[in-house]
Each structure stands twice: as C-alpha cells, then as structure tokens.
Symmetry: C2
Subunit: 123 residues, 2 copies
DNA sequence: CGGGATCCCCCCAGATACTG
DNA sequence: CAGTATCTGGGGGGATCCCG
C-alpha cells in the first residue's frame, strides 16, 4: 500500500499525512539522507545502516520506490548483478524539507540541552 | 521515552530522526494542525478527530507534552475540571515545517494524479 | 550479490470498564 | 469532564533459510 493510499482511505485526504506516511518508517529518513548526494548500491546502503537487516532494507526501499521517491537501476550485464538506487525528481523535491527538518531537529536538541544545563545550575 | 532519547540511543544522533520521532504517531500531526491556530480542550480535540479513541488521544498528547511541543493547562477551579492544550514556543517553531510538508504533500498528490491520468490516455 | 518466503515473537492500539 | 487500568489480537519486524 502506497503512502497516498494510506492517507486517502479515511475519506478526507490530509496532504501532511501523505508526506509523513512517505517518510514514516524505521529507516526511510536515513536512507534518503544517504541518497541525497549520490546514488548507492544495495550493499553500500546496508553497510551504511548499522542495525538494519537486509529484509528491512528491502522493504523500506520497496516502499520508497512505490511512492516514486527513489528509483532502482539494475545492471545485469555482469554476474553477480549490480543494483543501485537514486532519488527521483519527486525525491529531489523532498530534499529541502528534509534539510529543514534536520535543521529544526538540531536546534531542538540544542534548546533542550540548554534547558537541561540551566536546570542543573538552579539545582 | 522522549523523541530525543529514541533518536540518541543508537550512538550517533540524527537530528532528522529526532524531528520525525516527534511527528511520528498516528494522530500527532493532525493534533498539531488542530492546535496551530488556537488552543483546544481535550473533548474538543477528541471530537475533531473521528476514529481516535480517548486512550490514543491521551497517549499522543502525553508524548507531545514530554517532547515539549505542547503544554497542558488545567483549570481545577470548577468542577468538572477543564483542561486545554496549546503549542509551546518549540511547537510554534515547528509550524512552518508542518506547512511546508503539507504543501509538498499537496503537490505530490497532484503530480501522481497527473501521471495517472496521462497514463490513462496512453492506454 | 540482491533479494524473497516463512516462521514466530512482541508490542501497539482497540475495546471495555473504572475513577477523581 | 478528563483521563487511567486491564485484557486481547493483529501486525511489524527479527531470525533463518532459500533462490536466480
């Protein structure tokens, strides 16, 4: 089921939910981070995601592909075959949002840490 | 467990993950949408979220509160007591991101629909 | 190398009942 | 009114094996 179908099955479509459904997934956001600058092969992605199983990587990649955020390229002229993944145009258009969320997250973390240390002083 | 703790327990902290952990949750995004413009009471929120159980609403509100995105106000001078929820400053700072994600989602949906109809013509 | 199929466990969330 | 407590099942995800 695509992110779009997920967010439209309840009657009214909430575009925000569609976006979150696309990014929602244990490894999707970090996968997109990895693919932001250059394409990567399956095994390269796997190695760059400590703790991610092959099953999970495949599932997450499949969903991102169904949502047309990434595209798979297969080079079967060699054995063993090589596959690589890269962002589609739609995926590229998501990059600014991802960066904005990353920036916001960094600021959020800083703010919380600041609060914590000032609380420590009060104590 | 807060969104920050969730995203830091694996060693390296990914701010993007922190942000997504905050928004990640079946009802959180739509709750934030409801609270974007004005505070709301618990029962008002519940009524504005068809399909959301009281249990789920309580859990989601609790998490958003722990992440310091929203704040609960209790007026116990009356019986029955009245509680209301509103965005914190941190929560307010998230609004532009939410709107950007909403806009992107709307465009995404349009793009997919356009593709689908052009495919229909080809067929 | 790059997956898919299968089994299985645990946790999330729904239903229901109770409370200050 | 504004929540908690308890029980329960269904699905997400890990482990393992298989395949082109």
């Amino acid at each position: 089921m695509t992110a779009l179908e997920m967010s439209t099955r309840h009657g009214e479509t909430c575009p925000l939910d569609t976006t979150l459904n696309i990014l929602n997934g244990k490894w999707k956001s970090i996968i997109l981070c990895r693919l932001m600058n250059h394409e990567l092969r399956y095994s390269e992605l796997l190695r760059s995601l400590p703790g991610c199983t092959r099953r999970m990587l495949s599932l997450q990649l499949l969903q991102l592909e169904h949502d047309q955020i990434i595209k798979k390229e297969i080079d079967s002229s060699f054995i063993p075959i090589k596959t690589s993944y890269h962002l589609t145009e739609l995926g590229q258009s998501l990059v600014p949002i991802i960066q904005a969320m990353d920036n916001w997250g960094a600021n959020y973390i800083k703010t919380l840490n600041k609060k914590k240390s000032s609380n420590a002083i009060v104590r």
